[in-house]
């Protein structure tokens, strides 16, 4: 079995109308043995950026710390908050530094991007474990249930969902996908990001 499946876990992000959502399961396992049902793999980067880090557990911690350090350095040097687009590039280059000995993580970025006009636009991106960026306009998926997430999301997602509808869509997509994945599940967490607030909900899921 691949090291990418060792601890299990899945993340998905979706674009809505003036909002984005990012969600993950809460399982941490060691192969088929479940260890924790409250393992957070989505982290806030700024008030408007969240990053999901599905993959090898030890690298989740390392990369999260790495991103925290680099974002802090960015904030100090630039004297401004990092934007999602920029952060996605930071994620990509951080991973590519380890091109021939990669972190076993496939990050997912979701946030609201500040526009020159002063407004905000939804932004999502995902990369593979060596930092190949994918800027999708609809949704991105990663983790052990990624195939299932693709299938359900392709069926349920539609453009311009309002925040509440986006929450329902991403939740249904995630729950139904992880229920068919042995390495993901055991509850879920969903963050819906709009320009002025983030709503975080923890979902009850099947515990088998």
């Amino acid at each position: 079995m691949s090291i990418m499946q060792y601890n299990g876990g899945s993340v998905i992000a979706m674009v809505g109308k003036d909002c984005v959502a990012i969600a993950s399961d809460l399982r941490l396992g060691v192969q088929s043995l479940s260890i924790s049902a409250n393992y957070q793999k989505i982290f806030p980067i700024t008030d408007r950026i969240y990053v999901g880090l599905p993959g090898l557990g030890t690298d989740v911690t390392t990369l999260h710390e790495q991103f925290r350090y680099r974002v802090n350095m960015y904030t100090i040097k630039e004297e401004r908050e990092i934007e999602p687009q920029t952060f996605a590039q930071l994620v990509s280059s951080t991973l590519y530094e380890r091109r021939f000995g990669p972190y076993f993580i496939e990050p997912v970025v979701a946030g609201m991007q500040k526009l020159p006009t002063g407004g905000f636009a939804p932004f999502i991106a995902a990369t593979d474990l060596i930092g190949c960026l994918n800027f999708a306009k609809d949704f991105v998926v990663a983790g052990t249930a990624s195939e299932k997430l693709f299938g359900v999301a392709e069926g349920l997602w539609e453009p311009d969902l309002e925040a509440e509808d986006l929450f329902e869509t991403i939740s249904q997509t995630l729950l139904n996908a992880v229920d068919r994945d042995a390495f993901s599940g055991w509850g879920a967490v969903v963050h819906v990001i709009t320009k002025d607030k983030v709503v975080t909900r923890t979902l009850k899921g099947r515990m088998d």
Partner: protein, 253 residues
């Protein structure tokens, strides 16, 4: 090796009698009907061999079989099932009942336990009691009756979607109400079409064409089916269960 040497590595040389030919199949049972569907692309590796190679076959007026996996095994298996059903017809002067066909298929698959047909089978149709039924099999004959099942290249994409839309998994019914046990035909067809367009979008081995077989229980009105675009009746009699086929285009890229 890139440097032109190739002597040192362990030498493994064996004819491989199997290959994978892509595609996806799917079946959903209603209260008094069943829909059995499959795409029509046949591929090997990254090459599309043909855009029309049927994977779904009418066995009798009440049974339809979908086969997916290694196409040569699939075609041979269907051929042999049809032959056994013809012998049954000659011996008993009637068509074999669906649940008997299901058991026949398990026996035929298990007979090849040590050189299996590399094929996933889904059998759909109408039981003797008039209810819609789906039987799904693994390559060596393990089987069960279900309300819906997807198999093949895009199984992982389609099955969780079906869990959500057919079984209403992770959905709460409105207060004081319960989820319907069976969906009407129009809803089922819409879900099947959505499943295949989604699978086509995200899986390279799925696409080109969609064939949906509908088996209607005896006496059930064909409401909506006759007028449906591309629908065609292929029953041999009109006083028993009836079989229709509906063809749709899928993206070809």
């Amino acid at each position: 090796m890139p440097d032109g040497s190739f002597a040192q590595q362990p030498q493994q040389r064996q004819f491989n009698p199997y290959t994978e030919n892509g595609g996806t199949i799917l079946a959903i049972a209603g209260a008094d009907f069943t829909v059995i569907a499959g795409d029509t692309r046949q591929s090997e590796g990254y090459s599309i061999q043909t855009r029309y190679a049927p994977k779904v076959f009418r066995l009798t007026d009440r049974a339809v079989l979908a086969v997916n996996g290694f196409a040569a095994d699939g075609n041979m298996f269907v051929k042999k099932v049809k032959q056994r059903l013809e012998w049954y017809r000659h011996a008993h002067a009637k068509d074999m009942p669906l649940r008997a066909i299901a058991r026949l298929i398990q026996t035929m698959l298990y007979a090849q336990r040590f050189f299996p047909y590399y094929v996933y089978n889904i059998l759909g149709g109408i039981e003797e009691d008039g209810s819609g039924a789906v039987y799904s099999f693994d390559p060596v004959g393990s089987y069960e009756r279900e309300a819906c099942r997807a198999a093949g290249a895009a199984q992982a994409l389609v099955q969780p979607f079906l869990d959500n839309q057919i079984y209403f998994k992770n959905q709460m019914a409105a207060a004081g109400q319960s989820h319907p046990l069976h969906l009407p035909l129009s809803d089922v067809l819409a879900i099947v079409i959505d499943s295949f367009t989604s699978a086509t979008e995200r899986h390279i081995e799925v696409g080109d064409g969609l064939e949906m077989y509908v088996v209607l229980a005896k006496g059930r009105s064909s409401q909506g089916l006759d007028g449906l675009r591309g629908a065609q009746e292929i029953s041999t009699t009109n006083d028993g269960d009836r079989v229709f086929v509906i063809r749709r285009e899928l993206k070809k890229d």
